[in-house]
Amino acid sequence: MRAGLLLAFLAPAALACELPGGAAQQVKSAATTVVYRTPALKLGAHFAVEFAVCPAPESVRVDAWMPDHRHGMNYKPTVVALGGGRYRAEGLMFHMGGRWEFVFELRSGGRTERLAHSVRLE
């Protein structure tokens, strides 16, 4: 019983990089892991990104851009911390088809780390 309680308390931190509800994309550096999930991407439709960062940073920003076109989105997402290293970014929109890159900007201890992941929208 005691062991069961201990596991319950440890579980949120241990599972921080697993989003509830199934499959997610993963981006890793030597020190950090980001897992994120979007709804099915659709041209010209606002969407939200759910993601988790391990270890949890002090602050986080999310953006996206089209490297081939040299431009970003026309919208600035807002990020809400859900606790336990999990977040939700709202207000993203892809207004063109092609290759987009999600960028997760993570700040901790005065240092910034950027993790990027490419997706393709037809």
């Binding site: 010209g44 076109h69 026309n74 207000g91 063109m96």
Partner: protein
């Protein structure tokens, strides 16, 4: 001889065949027309009596300060709701070309600079603009309160007019929007072809003119025109610098989207404000997150291409007289005229004479014939 002719025909056909990716790109421009979806920010969107009221108001000259200008003065049904002028003229000459109202309900932003986030807030701008109709909330509210027929129809839709003139003005704009949402262009030769291509209907595919088909392949291929002119309305609804000079006259420039975003965010009529009927404000996501950047200077909204042949002259200032001029613009565009810190999308297409003709033929195939709108005869009195 027959054998060689057959081989030649096969070679020509395969040269203009559509790959799976092409079919997906073409399919993305339909189906047409799209189903109606009510605007949650406008409580009378789709309301028949609001549409009737809005149609009357659209042709109502007493909405203007001099009693001579209605919305229909610049938005002529027979010209796909434009006026054929380079720059619109109301009480005075304005800075921009009259945009079409056809399919306007599909837009995300309204006006060349997107200074409005709803069709109803956009509708107030020309009524109040001193260069267009030069009216006021007080004048509009007085007309609705005093004219027996308009007053009766207003009450049927909204109830008794509020004591605040501004609320009545917003209601009038919402009725105007309800009417404009009904302005949907018809099916075109392209739509018939698109549906046939999706179904694999060879007979249907074969009815589309060969020149238009070649033009379509340039549109989705070499030209990458569908990067911005995408979706059923052939517009991504956003803003771009297309190298059209934004000097209005010596010493005066049109900042386009840069100023549009500032106006949007400072407007009390935007979707974050009290006049949005969508209590949850889910319709305000774009307004809440839109961001102002230096590159927005000189950007203008991507126009829909449906019924384009009826809306000359072209671009935000009517600078280009014909469709051929527009194609030539993109064929010879100089990257030096684009923002150095802007997006890297455009490059000169360097089209041959045949390619130019084909692209124009494709654009012309997006025309539904036009002129089908008939103003309804209102025989029923409202008492």
């Amino acid at each position: 001889m027959k054998f060689w002719f057959g081989l030649l025909l096969t070679a020509v056909q395969s040269a203009h065949a559509f790959s799976d990716a092409d079919v997906r790109a073409v399919a993305a421009h339909g189906p047409w027309p799209p189903a109606f979806k009510a605007d949650p920010s406008n409580r009378v969107s789709g309301n028949k009596e609001a549409i009737d009221l809005g149609e009357r108001l659209f042709f109502e000259r007493r909405l203007s300060s001099n009693g001579e200008h209605s919305c229909s003065r610049c938005h002529l049904p027979e010209r796909n709701w434009t006026d054929g002028e380079a720059r619109a003229r109301g009480l005075a000459l304005t800075d921009r070309n009259t945009p079409s109202l056809a399919n306007v309900r599909l837009a995300r932003w309204f006006g060349w600079d997107g200074a409005h986030d709803s069709l109803w807030s956009q509708g107030m701008r020309p009524i109040l603009d001193p260069r267009e109709m030069g009216s006021s909330a007080a004048q509009v509210a007085k007309l609705v309160r005093v004219d027996a027929d308009l007053s009766c129809r207003y009450r049927r839709v909204f109830g008794a007019p509020a004591s605040e003139d501004e609320k009545v003005l917003v209601d009038v704009a919402k009725a105007l929007a309800a009417f404009q949402e009904t302005l949907v262009s018809g099916r075109t030769a392209f739509d018939v072809f698109r549906d046939a291509l999706v179904k694999g209907d060879k007979a249907g595919i074969g009815k589309y003119p060969e020149s238009a088909r070649r033009g379509l392949q340039i549109f989705i291929g070499k030209g990458s025109c569908n990067t911005c002119h995408v979706g059923p309305a052939f517009s991504n609804g956003e803003f771009h610098d297309t190298g059209v000079p934004f000097f209005i006259e010596p010493g005066r420039v049109d900042p386009g989207r840069h100023e549009g975003i500032k106006k949007l965010l400072s407007s009390r009529y935007n979707l974050l404000g009290k006049y949005n009927d969508d209590v949850a404000r889910s319709s305000a996501t774009g307004t809440r997150h839109v961001v102002l950047e230096h590159r927005n200077f000189g950007e203008f909204k991507t126009s829909s291409l449906r019924n384009l042949a009826l809306t000359a002259p072209y671009m935000h200032n009517g600078r280009l007289a014909t469709l051929r001029d527009v194609v030539n613009h993109y064929s010879t565009i100089s990257p030096d005229r684009l923002h150095s810190d802007g997006e890297a999308i455009l490059k000169p297409l360097k089209l041959s004479e045949q390619e130019t003709q084909d692209l124009v033929a494709f654009l012309e195939s997006l025309q539904d014939g036009g002129g089908r709108y008939r103003r309804r005869a209102f025989v029923e009195d409202c008492r």
